[in-house]
Symmetry: C2
Subunit: 418 residues, 2 copies
């Protein structure tokens, strides 16, 4: 069987399984999640064996130390997968909820019902725990999944999938509701993203280049998250302590996350006062600053930011700093250079706050809060499969709701059109 | 300037204009709509001249009579464009509304704000009134539009656009918020659908082949409506008079619309009683029936339906009829052959009604109502730019809400992450 036929077989069985999962009850899907948890718990030895194979292969292939670390399934990581399954089982079921039900002049009642998307393809890199996270959120929301993990984690992913299939079976659901692509052949991805008859949406999780490649070639909608070039703007009227706290927290609470601030904008009127205090704090924390000419008038010791710096997602202890004339200038800068992920204003001016909220064209726009809050858990979604910087369908953190769609439902009593 | 440069210039100016439109107030956008109406009313002579050019060119090119009819801008059609503008101005503004605002344990308040999509590309065929309909709905929802109408209507579309631009100007909005692609070169479409940097979504309006071609080549999300293979299922427990009324209305109230029924499913237990009565009514109305073998046992005079008939959107007085074992069989048939547009069950069994509602995977699913109700106006949307058979973003009739997206907004008081 060639790779194309193999993927089509996977797709066809996922499509069939998706109908049964969509029609299943909340209790059945929850029991599958809890049975999967127990199966994983009972399969620790098998998981360790499979993971050891992946690690050995990784060592032989000279995988880097960080990749080897991400690949490892420690007992603590297995515990956290089990805990994750319990949490997902405990979330409210989004499927089947009907909202906005209203009578129309014709007498029919029209509303919208939350329904699963169908079959979701997930493409991700090394961490095997994503297999459990993604599969469990898709199952909870009534979808079937096809998982294509990193080839270096294939044995671990297959061992995890075996446990999930056991959970599905014990709940009376089809095993094909969760399938791992069991080949290292790269052609599998190319096929997965071009089968709209079997796959409703692709969610890639990984670096920008992976996601750009997938988006360019996909014939299926892609919920994508490219990068996080996030901004904090310190407005004329900002409370100084608040501005310092938010600017420091947004940059340094964690460097490697997509909701970390990468560019700080400071209103001209506040630059002379605020920048030296900020520079001192960032200096203590080891953050390198790169500034525009006006910033360097106040902080002559820092390097000059190039045009490229305004586009940069450093994911590390580097921050570009720009002095702007005021609100308009800040919004214009953000709408030009931001990756439309998360941007914050620190202000005490109500009008400025509301204009910023409305005019900044990003997935999450904040007033007086750290960019680090842009996260499914902090936003109360209970779960997160990713953060979308797209505009259509899902924008911002994607939880269970983002894995569903809304169809129209009509309750009539025999009405016909005149 | 070549076509690619021309389209990029259009895209760039649309992108700039979209920011200003998105930031404009409800009153400003409404005044642009009303000023456009007045401009069209004052330009009846110019519109007639431009339309006469198109009609003459159409005659010279041997355009078919129906196409010539659709092309003509009669005074009544201009009146209805003016009326449409007034109606759109009177609709509630979706932009900026904030919903689901809730406090989180961290103290931040998180909600979702309705925001414009940005730049919307509309690709449509002959009717020039679509230019006004589409542009006005996009403007109302805070978007910029690039309109690519049928080449046979180019002069009319440009004359209409001139009036819309006058309306925008008089309200202080950028003229580039509404642009008509002023060339007959087909390469313009190819470029329009592959400029994700300037165009956020494409809405094609036209035949299935046009839409399939655009979807296959687009590098921008497409809100698409392929076809309407709609079903009515007469369940075991259906009220007979209600079943007859809905089956007749769904097929014959209008033949050419996408929400017209194309296949009727009848539960086995009711076939012998219901089919002859239906056949008599359809016979009077001149509807040709094509049946499965079981249907033909009751109605031996009708032709045999082929496998292809179950996929067919007749858009005319032809109906395929199938006898099914019951609910499960009906749902299976619909989920196999339906175009996921609109499907109805006629039943008095509550359990069957609710299972049908949940398990039929279509954009609009109805109980005891004619399929002909699947329409933005009948659903209370106040307007309709199209009907989507997609799952992501918009499903079913697309009104102003479907031209917007929801971003997350956060109200803080200085919170940072711990």
């Amino acid at each position: 069987m060639d790779i194309s036929q193999y993927m089509e077989a996977l797709g066809r069985s996922a499509r069939e399984a998706s109908r049964l999962v969509a029609a299943s009850s909340t209790a059945v899907r929850n029991s599958a999640l809890l049975a999967s948890r127990d199966a994983l718990d009972n399969a620790r030895a098998e998981l360790a064996d499979a993971n050891a194979q992946d690690l050995e292969r990784g060592r032989a292939n000279g995988l880097s130390a960080p990749l080897m670390d991400r690949l490892e399934l420690t007992p603590a990581r297995i515990d956290s997968m089990l805990e994750g399954l319990s949490q997902v089982a405990a979330l409210a079921d989004p499927v089947g909820s009907i909202s906005d039900l209203k009578y129309m002049p014709s007498g029919i009642q029209v509303g919208r019902m939350q329904v699963p998307l169908g079959v979701i393809g997930i493409i991700y890199e090394s961490r095997p725990n994503v297999t459990v996270d993604a599969a469990s959120l898709c199952l909870k929301s009534g979808n079937a999944t096809i998982l294509r993990g990193g080839s270096e984690a294939l044995a671990s992913n297959c061992a995890i999938a075996a446990c999930l299939k056991q959970g599905l079976r014990s709940a009376g659901l089809p095993e094909a509701a969760v399938q791992v692509v069991d080949t290292r052949d790269r052609a599998a991805v190319g096929k997965l993203i071009t089968m709209p008859e079997y796959v409703d949406v692709i969610i890639p999780r990984g670096g920008k280049s992976l996601i750009e490649r997938i988006s360019a070639d996909a014939r299926v909608p892609v919920i994508k998250h490219l990068d996080g070039v996030c901004h904090v703007f310190i407005d004329d009227s900002a409370d100084e302590e608040m501005a310092l706290n938010i600017a420091i927290n947004s940059k340094t609470q964690r460097y490697g996350t997509c909701n970390t601030m990468e560019t700080l904008l400071v209103a001209q009127a506040r630059a002379a006062q605020v920048l030296p205090r900020l520079a001192a704090r960032y200096g203590e924390l080891g953050v390198e600053l790169r500034g525009c000419s006006q910033t360097r008038e106040v902080l002559p010791e820092i390097t000059h930011a190039t045009e490229q710096d305004w586009y940069e997602e450093y994911l590390g202890p580097i921050l570009s700093v720009k002095v702007v004339a005021g609100l308009d200038d800040a919004i214009a800068h953000i709408n030009t250079y931001s990756s439309q992920h998360t941007d914050t204003i620190v202000t005490s001016d109500h009008g400025h706050a509301m204009r910023f909220l409305r005019e900044v064209d990003s997935s999450s726009v904040m007033i007086n809060a750290s960019t680090r809050f842009a996260d499914g858990f902090e936003f109360g979604l209970g779960a997160e499969i990713g953060i979308s910087t797209d505009k259509l369908h899902a924008r911002g953190p994607v939880g269970l709701e983002g894995l569903t769609s809304r169809k129209y439902v009509v309750f009539g009593e025999g009405q016909v059109r005149r």
